[in-house]
C-alpha cells in the first residue's frame, strides 16, 4: 500500500491525505506528534498496570511474587537438578543468576509486549489516527514500571546471600537503560513483522528461550561454555546483561568493550526498529 498523508498528518487544523511512495513519513512532524501524545502512551501504560491484576487475589503483589517464583524455579533447575557443580561461591552464583534472570525477563517481557501491541491494539488502530509507535513504546514503559519492584526483590536476595554492597552497583542502571532501548527496538521490529506474519507470536517464545540459554544468565560472562566462546560477543545480550551483572553482583566496573558493545546494540536496535516500524506503520490498518 503506497499511500500516506503528507506532513500535516497530525496537525489538528488542516489535513491532506494523499498517496506517495512507500517509505518513511516526514520525520519532524512525526516526532512532534509523537512527543505531543506522550501523555497518551503514559496513560495507557498506567491504566494497563492498574488493570493487569485486578481479577487476581494477590493483585499487585504479583509484581514481587513473580520474580521470587522465577528465582525458585531456576534455583531448582541449576542447583538441584543439575547437581550444582562446585559448591564454591554458590551464594554469588545464585545472586548472579537472579540478577541476570530478572533483567532477561524484563527484556523479553518488554520485547514481547511491544511486539503484541500493534496486532492487539486493533480497534484503537482502526478508529483513531495517531503515530503508531506510541503503542510499542507504551508497552515498554509498562514493562519498565512493572520491573521496578523486581529491583527491590533483587536487593533482598543480594542481602540474604550475604553479598557486599558496592558503590559501583549504582552504575548498573546505565545498562538497564541500554537494555530498555534494545528491548524497545526489538519490540518494534517484531510488532511490524507480526502484522505480516501472525506466526511470529508462536515463534517468539522459543526464540526468547534459546536466547536465554545463549546469554550470560545462568553462567558468568567470563565462564562462557567453550562451545560458545567463538561467537558469544556477537550476542547483543552478552555485553548488556554481562555488564549489568558485573556491576550489580560483583561491583566490578566492566571493560570498555562491554559499555561500547551495549551502547552499540541499544542504539542500533532502536534506530533500525523505529525506522522499520515507521516505514510500515501506514500499512497496518489495511492489514489488520
Amino acid at each position: 500500500m503506497n499511500a500516506t498523508s503528507v506532513d500535516e498528518e497530525f496537525n489538528p487544523s488542516v489535513h491532506v491525505y494523499e498517496p506517495h511512495k512507500v517509505g518513511l513519513p516526514a520525520l519532524r512532524p512525526y516526532f512532534k506528534a509523537l512527543w505531543q501524545r506522550r501523555e497518551f502512551a503514559a496513560e495507557m501504560s498506567r491504566t494497563n498496570i492498574r488493570a493487569a491484576n485486578t481479577n487476581t487475589f494477590f493483585g499487585q503483589v504479583w509484581l514481587v511474587l513473580n520474580p521470587l517464583l522465577l528465582a525458585l524455579v531456576y534455583y531448582l533447575l541449576t542447583d538441584i537438578i543439575a547437581g550444582g557443580g562446585a559448591k564454591v561461591g554458590a551464594a554469588e552464583r545464585f545472586a548472579h543468576m537472579c540478577a541476570g534472570l530478572f533483567a532477561f525477563y524484563y527484556f523479553s517481557g518488554a520485547m514481547t509486549a511491544g511486539a503484541a501491541s500493534v496486532v492487539g491494539g486493533g480497534k484503537l488502530l482502526m478508529n483513531q489516527s495517531f503515530p503508531r509507535m506510541l503503542l510499542p513504546l507504551s508497552a515498554v514503559r509498562t514493562a519498565f514500571f512493572r520491573f521496578l519492584p523486581t529491583l527491590v526483590v533483587y536487593l533482598g536476595i543480594h542481602m540474604v546471600m550475604r553479598q557486599k554492597l558496592h558503590w559501583q552497583m549504582l552504575l548498573a542502571p546505565a545498562f538497564l537503560i541500554m537494555l530498555t532501548f534494545f528491548a524497545a527496538g526489538m519490540g518494534m521490529i517484531f510488532a511490524a513483522l507480526q502484522v505480516y506474519f501472525r506466526d511470529t507470536t508462536s515463534f517468539l517464545p522459543y526464540f526468547v528461550r534459546i536466547w536465554l540459554y545463549m546469554s550470560p544468565v545462568l553462567w558468568f560472562a567470563e565462564q562462557a561454555p567453550p562451545k560458545f566462546k567463538g561467537f558469544i560477543q556477537y550476542n547483543p545480550l552478552y555485553p548488556l546483561l554481562g555488564g549489568w551483572a558485573d556491576l550489580l553482583v560483583k561491583g566490578a566496573i566492566p571493560k570498555w568493550q562491554m559499555w561500547a558493545g551495549g551502547g552499540f546494540w541499544a542504539i542500533l536496535a532502536f534506530v533500525v526498529g523505529s525506522l522499520f516500524f515507521m516505514s510500515r506503520e501506514r500499512e497496518f490498518v489495511v492489514r489488520l
Binding site: 499511500a3 498523508s5 487544523s13 494523499e18 483513531q128
Partner: protein
Amino acid sequence: MSSLSVSETEKKPMQKSTSNVPAVKVQDVSITYRTTFERVPTFKSALVRFGRGERAVREVKAVQNVSFDVNHGTTIGIIGANGAGKSTLMRAVAGILPPTSGRIEVHGRVSTLLSLGVGFNAALSGKENVILGGLAAGLSRKVIEERYEEISEFAELGDFMEMPMRTYSSGMFSRLAFSVAVHMDPDILLIDEALSAGDASFKSKAAAKMGELVTNSRTMFLVSHAMSSVREMCNDCIWLHKGKLMMRGEPNEVIQAYTKFLQVGEAESVSLEDL
C-alpha cells in the same frame, strides 16, 4: 474528475460559514485493500506461495475514483448498500486509512464515531477509556478532565462510568461513544451507524445534539441505512454503490433513486428502520 459520478450537481451549497474553502475535499480518491486469500496471513502460506512463485493478492476496490466537496455547515448523508465503501470512505476522511490514489483535504478537527467499535478497551472503565481516547486524539489532559463532566452527564451512565466496559450493554457502549464523539469539539463529525443500539430517548437526545452542532456550522457526515433519519437531518446526500459515486444531491431525490435502484418500495424500506 470522475466520469463515474452520475450526477455531480452541486445542489445548493448549504454554506453557513463565510469561508470559501470546503470543509472536506475529496478528489478522485480510490482505496484498494490488498488481501491475500487467507483470512489471516501466515508465514507458512507465504512460503508455499513463494515456492510456487505466485503472489496471491486479491484487490478489493472499496472506493473508486470518488470526488466531491463538502462545505462547512453541511450535514451530508452517505447511503448505499452493504459493502458500498461508506465506512472505508469515512476512515479515509478521518485519516486512518490512506487513499491508494487521489487526494483528500480536510479543514478542521475531525471526530469519528465509527461502527467497528470506538477504540475502547473493555478491561478499563468508561472513565479511563474516555481519557485515553481523548489523549489519543491529541487533547491535553486538562481539556479532557473538563469535558469529562459533560460527557458523563450526556451519556447518563451513572455509576457505570467507573466500571470496566466489559460490563456494559451494547446500548451503553454506543451512548458513551456518541457522547465522546460530540464532546470532542469537532469541526467535522463522522458518524457511522453507531446509534443503532441506543434507546429511543437517547436517540432523540442525540439527534438534538447533532442538530445543535450543525447550527454552529459544524460539518457532519452521517452514514446510515435509516432513510428517514437521513431525510430528516441531512441537507445533502451521497449515494455510493460498489465503491462508485452514483449520485449526489438533495436527500429526497437521492434516496428515491437509491430505493428505486434497490427495487425496494419506499414504504418497505422505511418500515423496518429507525434513527
